[in-house]
């Protein structure tokens, strides 16, 4: 697999992982909160950009920290951890697929109550650029069981592929993660009602979970295939 193909894979994985109900809900809550305060188009654009910056910073820090953690371990232990991350990612993908059939029942991806309260406070009582940056960071914590695991798996993939510098790849991945949110922002800019976006999200959240679940599983399999030398990154056949 060539590096260009790997980059394309990461972009597609990022877009599919970013299209999750939790992230869409948080972002629409931010926009509707701003609209409720009577903010103009520029203010909403500013808050959204701050949210994106916070989310990208949190993603890159999270991924780079995991990369550095793998780097200080012995190669054998690091490989064991990569295999474990791939296994957990595949399991989380299976839980996402379960949500397509039985949404929210039993074992499911839900943000912790403390994080949910914090998000509610930041979308209803606090407004401004700094708050939006922090909200972007908290949004990653709310979706850590799907997007967070995706970041860990992508970082593991980069690590076992022998890529020396992960930051630019993680920035690319986080930019791909926010593509669905940018499309929602453009739709709001084109006078689409937030309520219709929320209705669309409610109608399609099962399919979003299915897509994210399949993506996580395929990502985990790709990591395992690289570990067992079936796929070599950077080698064009």
């Amino acid at each position: 697999m060539s590096l260009e193909a790997l980059f394309l894979c990461i972009v597609v994985i990022g877009i599919l992982c970013g299209l999750t109900p939790s992230l869409v809900s948080i972002f629409t809550a931010l926009i509707s909160g701003s609209l409720g305060q009577g903010h103009g188009r520029n203010r909403i654009l500013g808050n959204s950009t701050s949210f994106f910056i916070g989310f990208i910073i949190a993603t890159v820090i999270f991924g780079t920290a995991f990369w550095l953690f793998l780097g200080v371990l012995t190669p054998l232990l690091a490989t064991y951890i990569v295999i474990f991350v791939a296994f957990v990612t595949a399991s989380a993908g299976l839980v996402e697929i379960k949500d397509y059939f039985w949404y929210g029942q039993g074992l499911s991806h839900r943000p912790h109550k403390h994080i949910a309260n914090r998000i509610h406070r930041r979308t209803t009582k606090k407004y401004g650029a700094t708050n939006s940056v922090l909200l972007g960071m908290v949004a990653l914590g709310a979706s850590v069981t799907n997007i967070g695991l995706g970041i860990l798996a992508i970082t593991s993939l980069l690590f076992v592929s022998g890529i020396a510098e992960p930051v630019s790849w993680l920035v690319g991945f986080s930019l791909a993660l926010i593509v669905p949110l940018v499309i929602i922002l453009l739709a709001v800019g084109e006078k689409t009602r937030v309520s219709s976006i929320i209705k669309w999200k409610e109608d399609t959240k099962g399919i979003m979970r299915l897509g994210a679940g399949i993506t996580l599983i395929l990502l985990a399999w790709l990591v395992l295939l690289v570990v067992n030398s079936s796929v070599a990154i950077g080698v064009v056949i």
Binding site: I83, A86, L94, W221, L225, V227, N228
Partner: protein, 81 residues
């Protein structure tokens, strides 16, 4: 016995042989039938999900085992057993 069956199936699948695929299919079917014992409401989506989940779990287990084999330089199932 389960370990031997799983390991042999893994070896056959790695060799892309017909027997390995049949062995995997029999294992998946057995697991789905076992899971159907817990399907009290008799819904079709339960069977669909169980088929998907079992295939995913099986492939993931094979890949994890294969990755562990390569990591530990185990080049045959016999050496592992």
């Amino acid at each position: 016995m389960g370990t031997i069956f799983f390991a042999t199936t893994l070896q056959q699948i790695q060799a892309m042989s017909f027997r390995g695929v049949i062995g995997g299919a029999i294992l998946i079917a057995a697991l789905v039938l076992f899971a159907s014992l817990f399907n009290k409401q008799k819904t079709y989506r339960f069977y669909i999900f169980m088929c998907i989940a079992t295939i995913i779990a099986f492939v993931t287990a094979v890949l994890v085992a294969s990755a562990l084999f390569v990591t530990n330089n185990i080049d045959s199932v016999e050496a592992f057993l």
